[in-house]
Amino acid sequence: MKNISIGQYYAADSPIHRLDARTKLILAILCIVCTFICKSTFAFVALMIFGVLLVLISRIPPKVIFRAMKPIVFIMLFTALINIFWTGGEILLFEWKFIKVYAEGLYNAAFMTVRIIVLIIGSSIFLTYTTTPIALTDGTERLLSPLKKIKVPVHEFAMMMSIALRFVPTLIDEADRIMSAQKARGTDFSSGGLIKRAKALIPIIIPLFVSAFRRADELATAMECRCYHGGEGRTKLHVTHLGFSDFFALILMIAFGAALVLINIYASKYGLGYVMP
């Protein structure tokens, strides 16, 4: 269970780590937009280069990133297969009974795979790997703070989010420990039918809930003891400011998006490479 690495901060010192959390939130959104702008071969090549550069700049070992990809390999394969077999087109490469594979299908499959990979790399590097959960929720709160004017409880949502994030590893640890304790008393999680396995979870779930409620209760008391009373009039200990590098990064990202649009336009005008419909 300890191997869940999505959503884990990776401590390192890189230009991306040093950016303001607000900038990184916007960059993540722009990055997602960019992956969907891409429509032509050259644009996807540019996107791949962008992904590689991102990993290099962030100083996160590729090993760590690959591990985060593992759980979604199945989804990637699935979309690739769907694209290969279900895309119609003009250039028929292969036919067997009712199965027809077109060159367009292969292109689409490759593009979708690149898209998913860069999507994951981009959002995880900007959000989880280089930003601590606390900085992230702080950034979200400040980014959304204009909504406070129309009575949206932004601070409360951000607080709930940071508490939830904070307790994910704790609860994983706890579940691990309870599971070991019940295994020591002879619970068998790995054999038997579906109903038997579901029943074997009861000795895990109940203590887990009990301890989660106890923790919630203790946390609430501790917060009240320190006079927490919601977001009103609350100031921050560390106030971050947007600097030159933040604006630079944003401009770079927007320029990249614009370049992708131009590449798409030229590619379809002059018929360079394959262009997605």
């Binding site: 300890k2 020591a184 002879g186 068998d188 009861i202 009990v210």
Partner: protein, 290 residues
């Protein structure tokens, strides 16, 4: 004869990541049949990891874990039967309680063993007796017990499986002196009744000196020394280097010796110190004490 034995066992947590920790480094150690062995060592020295090896909760990356001379990982499918022979009480075991009555919770282990209802109720009664839980407490919800009672209920839950080797990770952590006494004497009672082997992990030198026959000292993922209390505590300097210390009463006695009071060197319990002092100062001192 060793009931259980580790042979050249190595274990790392989260191998291949930056968080990799070498928890056990080529450890070889035996636990003598019928004895109470105390496992001591500084925080993070690998005690809990070692203890998790004994009933197959953690699988060694290299090396062997032997139970009665047989490798428990010979047939990984049969690891379940090893867990019935080696009972492990984990650190803070009260968080494993889940049934609606204490009695049901204690019978959870025996039920998993597939025993008959008569046998189960006999074992539950005996285990509850050993740890000192009354019929009234057995009918309660485990969540309505006090901390010490919860601890004893959780220990009874493992004792009811009647393991040949009972392993307890810090069974008395966070309990008051009376609570500690109850827990340790329950463990000693269990050993005497079943003639089983016991391994206790603890930070308290006093408790270890009082209740254990053999001490094994761990430091930085390895075994530093094994021997009787006298053997181990005579290496005071080495113990101090690894962040451990002698029992308080022993230090007091050594200080008295330095000052010229002729007490013996090997005094590790308050009772022994009391006896030694009354012998020197006579009954007068003991009366004054009362």
């Amino acid at each position: 004869m060793n009931k259980a034995e580790l042979k050249n066992v190595t274990f790392r947590y989260m191998p291949g990541t930056v968080y990799e920790t070498l928890a056990l480094n080529d450890v070889s150690v035996g636990f003598e049949d019928g004895k109470i062995t105390g496992l001591i060592g500084h925080t993070g020295s690998g005690k809990s990891t070692l203890v998790g090896m004994l009933n197959g909760l953690i699988r060694p990356m290299s090396g062997e874990v032997l139970l009665d001379g047989e490798n428990i990982w010979e047939k990984p499918k049969n690891i379940g039967s090893v867990r019935f022979r080696v009972g492990l009480v984990m650190q803070y075991p009260e968080y494993q309680l889940f049934e609606d009555t204490v009695e049901k919770d204690i019978s959870f282990g025996p039920k998993n063993m597939g025993l008959s209802p008569d046998e189960i109720s006999r074992r539950v009664k005996e285990a509850a007796d050993i740890v000192g839980l009354s019929g009234k407490e057995l009918a309660k919800s485990p969540f309505d017990l006090s901390g010490g009672q919860k601890r004893r209920a959780a220990i009874a839950g493992v004792m009811a499986m009647e393991p040949e080797l009972l392993v307890l990770d810090e069974p008395a952590a966070g309990l008051d002196p009376v609570g500690r006494e109850t827990v340790f004497s329950a463990i000693a009672d269990y050993r005497n009744m079943r003639n089983s082997t016991v391994v206790i992990v603890s930070h308290s030198m006093e408790d270890m000196a009082r209740w254990c026959d053999v001490l094994t000292v761990m430091a930085d993922g390895g075994v530093l020394m094994t021997g009787s209390c006298e053997d181990v505590f005579s290496h005071a300097e080495e113990l101090k280097k690894t962040g451990l210390d002698l029992p308080q009463i022993t230090k007091l006695m050594l200080l008295l010796r330095e000052k010229g009071v002729p007490v013996g060197e090997n005094i590790y319990t308050v009772e022994a110190a009391y006896a030694a002092l009354t012998e020197i100062f006579g009954k007068r001192a003991s009366l004054k004490r009362i």
